[in-house]
Symmetry: C2
Subunit: 304 residues, 2 copies
């Protein structure tokens, strides 16, 4: 059996009991490396599981699937992925390969940012399509996310924006010389994300986003204890795009970060809920009332 096991969002204890049982029954356990740098390291997992964990980078999962699948028709093999196995990235290819080799596959689900984003208090029903935002370079500024956000905004829907990370990057020199030396991982910060969004708004000028009247919610380390140690805790910060762009990057906590662009289907209770996280409560309420049309008169006493 090939088990594809979601690890959830924060640390080694976010695996499910079922997932842990599968790991313990497995003769080999792979960890998709793309993820391992982020939240839990290999050693911590090994100590928690009491067995060796083999790091498999994204390339290996995609191109050397045979190695992972070897013998999985006779014994259990686990592939661990952060979040849910069918979260932001699907693992269709390895499942198809397993199928064609007659290897049974069992997926063990877990939370991913695609549903845990609900932690900001916005109804998941009112989210449109999610988008990814990649690091711009001087010559490469892909802006298809702008069309997707415009489509969502046009329907009054919220947009989950997943921010780029760069791992296993090589410098041009190392790449040219074929040296497998990698740069430190980079994570897009909230101010940088907002700056890129507004840069494309200036270029396209279709009035999708506005610094002063578009509300957004920044999330980091969703699912981690929000009263935990400073470098691991969950943080939620909300305000106008301009306000978020003016905060120091560290006020948003440690990566990974996500950003929600709020659409017009904002409910007054959601405004109340997120107010606790506002850069400035007064601005948050004012824009929710004047721009988003929320009726907030009885907001002081949330009688539900």
């Amino acid at each position: 059996m090939l088990y594809i096991i979601g690890l959830g969002l924060c640390d080694e204890k976010d695996i499910t009991v079922r997932g842990l049982e599968a790991v313990k029954s497995s003769s080999r356990v792979y960890l998709e490396a793309y993820t391992s740098i982020l939240l839990v390291n290999k050693e911590r997992l090994e100590s928690f599981y009491g067995k060796e964990v083999i790091v498999a980078d994204r390339d290996m999962v995609e191109t050397q699937a045979e190695e992972i699948l070897k013998g999985a028709d006779k014994q259990d093999v686990s592939l661990l992925v952060v979040g849910d196995p069918f979260g932001a990235t699907t693992h269709i290819d390895i499942v198809l390969r397993a199928r064609s080799s007659g290897i049974p596959v069992r997926v063990i689900h877990n939370a991913s940012i695609m549903n845990a984003v609900g932690a900001c208090g916005l109804q998941l029903y009112n989210f449109g399509q999610a988008v990814s935002l990649v690091f711009f370079t001087d010559t490469w500024k892909p802006d298809s996310f702008y069309d997707r956000i415009r489509e969502n905004i046009g329907l009054g829907l919220h947009t989950l924006v997943l921010l780029d990370i760069k791992v296993k990057e090589q410098s041009e020199e190392n790449l040219a010389r074929g040296r497998k030396i990698y740069e430190p991982p980079r994570y897009m910060s909230i101010p940088q994300a907002v700056s890129q969004l507004l840069e494309i708004e200036s270029l396209r000028a279709e009035n999708v986003l506005s610094p002063k009247t578009t509300l957004a919610i920044a999330l980091s380390r969703v699912g981690c204890d929000d009263a935990g140690p400073d470098n691991t805790r969950q943080r939620i910060v909300c305000g106008t795009l301009e306000q978020l762009s003016e905060q120091p990057p560290e006020s948003f906590g440690e990566p990974l970060h996500s950003l929600v662009i709020i659409g017009k289907r904002l409910h007054h209770l959601e405004v109340v809920y997120a107010e606790e996280y506002a850069v400035c409560r007064e601005t948050w309420r004012r824009v929710a009332r004047e721009v988003y049309g929320c009726v907030l008169d009885y907001m002081a006493t949330p009688e539900i």
Copy 2:
């Protein structure tokens, strides 16, 4: 501390290790009853946790939150909900009440249908807003879902349709006499859901859905072992709306059911992946090719 703990999708072992620790540390454990009828019963949870579980129906969670919160400033109390605490239904109200009483809250996330729907192989990025479909009566056929599906279809996006369940319903007679006797729970089947969708299509006639050319994927018991006992296993069945409406209800497995209406942003690999679940592979491929524009020439050998 109030813990709001997602139980995940299938049975008692889908709780996370962190969630289980919170349950064990709690002096009182509530189970939102709305959910308990579906997948795991109270006794099974009690035996797994080694402690009493108090059933709290949805009314209690919403209107008698004080009872749940009592003492949670000094000791741990857990509220268990199926799926993720911020899945299809948010638990904003009880969090707001806890906050106003100075009770810290910790949410422990888990999989919900909102992300685990990825099990059908469709990229979550290409889903638009999710909709709910309620049981029609002779006089009440709410059709706002049709507008939402039209919006998604217009953008080429998939739609997750959550099917109604009726629990704790009273017959008119029992209601009139004030007798708290409840009817057996009812779950909407896939054929009934498709029939309701097509009924509104006939009435509105906006060419959003078509029996022969709209593809859909039916899912039941997502996250449960798909090789498990017949009454608990996950099933995925796909085809045109007409094909799904013609299958016997039992071919879709046990409730809960969900349905995905497929939009035009269908990728050929997704077609290959889901083909295994097709009512008729030939029709599935033909409609994907002719209506959805998927290039399927090299589908026989999935070289990724």
